[in-house]
Symmetry: C2
Subunit: 86 residues, 2 copies
């Protein structure tokens, strides 16, 4: 079996350059990087004293929180569908 | 109207201490922090030369990627349900 095709894209996040590698297309990866950049700026605005490392960790925590909540909602929706189909 | 109750929890992520504030309960916030910690360790294992700041940004990117993909799936599922109900 062939390996999934990897996309490599260089993006700027909070004034540093990153090479991101993923199985998604370039547009998707750039959008994801843009969203992280926005969230970092947003948290930075509210907490000007945070160093970049702490700021990035809090951005990751914030995003993970959104992910975990959406995941719960998604699982609930899937259960509802299964119940309807039974 | 009263303000939503805020939870404040202190967690360790990648050997630094963070105070996280959210509307969710303590157990949820600790779990979220634990997931970020795991993801950072995972990326660190694969890229030992990354400094903590870059590592944290890439962890945020990775999590945002998961979020955006799940969001698409979730919207698709909601559309399917709406179509079935019509």
């Amino acid at each position: 079996m062939s390996q999934p095709k990897k996309t490599r894209v260089t993006v700027d996040i909070f004034n540093r350059s990153y090479t991101i590698i993923g199985e998604e297309d370039e547009q998707h990866l750039s959008r994801v990087a843009g969203l992280v950049n926005e969230k970092m700026k947003e948290i930075h605005e509210k907490n000007r004293s945070l160093d970049t490392s702490r700021l990035a960790v809090l951005t990751a925590v914030n995003t993970m929180n959104d992910y975990v909540k959406l995941k719960k909602e998604h699982e609930k929706l899937k259960t509802t569908i299964r119940e309807k189909e039974e």
